[in-house]
């Protein structure tokens, strides 16, 4: 097997709150490889946000090792970390975090402001990133002129613009309705197919279901780590969701109900609705 993109060994993060010590991460081991689409799941307080902050170079672990492409990110200073965030990480936040007074294009160009790599191609790269998320025609719009889904796509374009090693999304669909959630998840799938490594932190099983792999945390430890198709919790949830969907369709579908009443045929609920 090839070298992992991210290697985490016995990672601990301990907060001292007065006399109490909180073990937000209590010995996490995790390898993430190039071109994986990983969902990190857990209830609130499970340590998933702390893990994401450390993965994104926003926070430093109390102990343990974190290497990204072989570089010891876990032991870097503030400036070196800023450089890692700029070049290796693309953040997507639940609340988009776009600059309200700047156009989509300017928002996407923001990360390149802090790097000398694309000094003369910044505008072209930003336009290209907007094309990848399907917003080429919205480059001059401000965030308040865009829908929620479009805003999140601008944020994704911003995350992609420096060709990061990891796209790190923290509840990217938390502020979106079902339809736009599908839209954003669809975008993530597309990027993943194009070769982008993606890590999503979420507590929604349906969002997690689009990934290849689900890592579950509880009390600062990894409690399960399976490919999505083998994750017992997810599979159980998926079966249940399907049942609920079927019963909901049969109960709510007026045409079926009218037909049912007219023919008097008491077919088993939903069996013929789903092809």
């Amino acid at each position: 097997m090839s070298q992992p993109l991210i290697a985490i060994r016995d990672l601990k993060k301990i907060y001292k709150m007065g006399a109490e010590t909180v073990r937000a991460l209590d010995g996490v081991d995790l390898d993430i490889f190039e071109n994986e689409f990983v969902a990190i799941m857990g209830a609130s307080g499970s340590g998933k946000s702390t893990l994401m902050n450390i993965l994104g170079g926003l926070d430093q672990p109390t102990s343990g090792g974190y290497t990204l492409r072989g570089k010891p990110v876990g032991r870097m200073g503030a400036s070196a970390l800023a450089r890692v965030r700029n070049r290796e990480i693309g953040f997507v936040f639940q609340t988009f975090e776009l600059l309200p007074r700047a156009s989509s294009l300017k928002n996407v160009m923001l990360p390149m402001l802090y790097s000398s790599r694309h000094l003369f191609s910044a505008r072209r790269r930003a336009k290209h990133a907007l094309e990848r998320v399907g917003l080429a025609d919205r480059s001059g719009h401000r965030p308040n002129q865009l829908s929620g889904g479009q805003r999140q796509r601008v944020a994704v374009a911003r995350a992609l613009v420096n060709d990061p090693s990891i796209l790190l999304a923290d509840e990217p669909t938390g502020n979106l309705d079902t339809k736009t959630t599908d839209e954003i998840i669809g975008l993530f799938r597309k990027l993943h197919e194009e070769g982008q490594t993606i890590i999503i932190v979420t507590h929604e099983e349906d969002v997690a279901g689009y990934g290849d792999r689900i890592v579950r945390l509880r009390d600062g430890r990894v409690i399960s780590d399976f490919p999505t198709s083998e994750d017992p919790v997810h599979q159980a949830w998926a079966r249940r969701a399907e049942e609920v969907a079927r019963s909901r369709v049969s109960k709510r579908d007026p045409v079926a109900m009218v037909e049912e009443a007219a023919t008097g045929a008491a077919s088993p609920s939903g069996a013929e609705v789903e092809p």
């Binding site: 902050n53 994104g56 926003l58 926070d59 503030a78 400036s79 800023a82 450089r83 965030r85 700029n86 070049r87 953040f91 936040f93 975090e97 600059l99 007074r101 923001l110 990360p111 402001l113 802090y114 790097s115 000398s116 000094l119 911003r158 420096n162």
Partner: protein, 412 residues
């Protein structure tokens, strides 16, 4: 390269911030605006006043030197003022021996009641002078003739009068050949003096009746009056030489020992100019102190608003850090913003200062008519604005740079 691009972007960002909070920015920078406008108008006024004063000096005596007898403080008990009075002999001595001096005149002033016919004018300023007075004072006659050496040597009872005196004594339009009664003696009017150029600084304003008579005649009328000397320099820049020469001649003649103090005073206009410059510097210093307070208050306003800005934009700072802004870059951003705010205030203040200067210039008959804002004051103003921005923007900028990106992103 990246720093320059970042700097330019930051300046534009800051201008955008100011533009979107116009009223707030205006109120914030009010202290700076007032400070800068105040210092500029004070400096402009002083510059104008200085130009005016120097011009006055040029007109009224850049080439003049005055001397008079003087009793030093510690000799006041033993020496009387009449002992140190300049004598016509001493004055002539100066004229003959000081190479930097062209002309001299002794001067003796008094006030007399003067009458013409039934008209009586009390307390007319009457000065006894030598004929060179015309040249030194720059006053010629418009009718009749000037005083001559013979008028003086023979102590003739002749006089020159000015137009005001003609009016007040009700003399004919051409008064030459008329006789005035001065202290009971008949004086022949030989000429009419040009009305003295009015100077606001040297007791100008309304002109007074004036009588000019030969020095010796005056001396006979009142032998014990005080005598001043007025001399003319060959060129204005030999004032110091002339002073040294006069001092040497007078000390030698009076037989003063090296340790003795001068028993006379010599005044050159340069002294007055120096005094004025000192006064102007004093006013500038006071204005500077007032302005410093205004700038201090303005700076605190800037600091306050920058703290507000940092707290309002905490999430933005968090985002910028998340996408790779190093702490130093964030520090620079807020520092540049504070400086831009201050300099923008400076621009308004300078404009206001120029406006006030224009108003000063528009005041009729004021010595401020030549008020002008010197270039250095403009540069200095902007320099100070920048400095205030750096000093008072530093604390909020450090606060922003030190923000933890996680907390910043979670901030509402």
């Amino acid at each position: 390269m990246i720093v320059i691009r970042l700097f330019i972007q930051t300046v534009f960002l800051a201008l955008g911030q100011i533009w979107s909070n116009k009223v707030r920015a205006m109120l914030t920078t009010l202290g700076i605006i007032i400070g800068v406008a105040a210092v500029l108008s004070v400096v402009a006024g002083l510059t104008g006043l200085r130009g005016f004063v120097l011009k006055e000096f040029e007109t009224f005596g850049a080439r003049k030197v005055w001397a008079w007898g003087y009793v030093p403080e510690d000799l006041r008990t033993s020496v009387s003022w009449s002992d140190v009075k300049l004598s016509p002999y001493e004055i002539r001595l100066v004229k003959d021996n000081a190479p930097s001096i062209d002309r001299v005149t002794a001067m003796m002033g008094n006030r007399y009641d003067v009458s013409y016919g039934k008209r009586l004018q009390r307390g007319v300023e009457t000065t006894g002078v030598w004929p060179d007075w015309h040249e030194i004072e720059g006053r010629t006659v418009i009718r009749g003739r000037e005083l001559s050496r013979f008028d003086d040597e023979e102590s003739r009872q002749v006089c020159l009068i000015n137009e005001k005196a003609i009016e007040e004594l009700n003399l004919p339009e051409d008064p030459t050949g008329e006789y005035l009664l001065v202290k009971g003696r008949r004086f022949l009017v030989i000429g009419v003096l040009e009305t003295k150029q009015q100077s606001a600084m040297f007791g100008g304003g309304d002109s007074q009746s004036e009588l000019i008579i030969p020095f010796n005649t005056q001396r006979q009328l009142n032998p014990y009056r005080w005598i001043n000397m007025m001399a003319q320099l060959t060129t204005p820049d030999v004032a110091d030489d002339a002073r040294a020469e006069m001092r040497f001649i007078l000390r030698k003649h009076r037989g003063l020992d090296p340790e003795d103090e001068d028993t006379f005073r010599i005044e050159v206009l340069q002294n007055a100019i120096d005094q004025f410059n000192g006064l102007a510097a004093g006013i500038t210093a006071v204005a500077g102190a007032v302005v410093s307070i205004a700038l201090l208050v303005g700076g605190i306003g800037i600091m306050n608003i920058m703290l507000v800005s940092v707290s309002e934009r905490t999430r933005e700072i968090g985002l910028r850090k998340a996408v790779g802004a190093r702490p130093g870059v964030v520090l620079m951003q807020f520092l540049v913003e504070a400086v831009t705010l201050c300099v923008a205030g400076g621009v308004v203040g300078v404009t206001l200062g120029f406006g006030i200067t224009e108003i000063l210039k528009a005041i009729p008959n004021s010595p401020m008519s030549e008020a002008v804002v010197p270039d250095w004051a403009v540069y200095l103003s902007f320099g100070f604005c920048g400095l205030v921005g750096v000093v008072f923007g530093m604390f909020p900028a450090i606060k922003a740079a030190r923000l933890n990106p996680i907390d910043a992103l979670r901030h509402d």
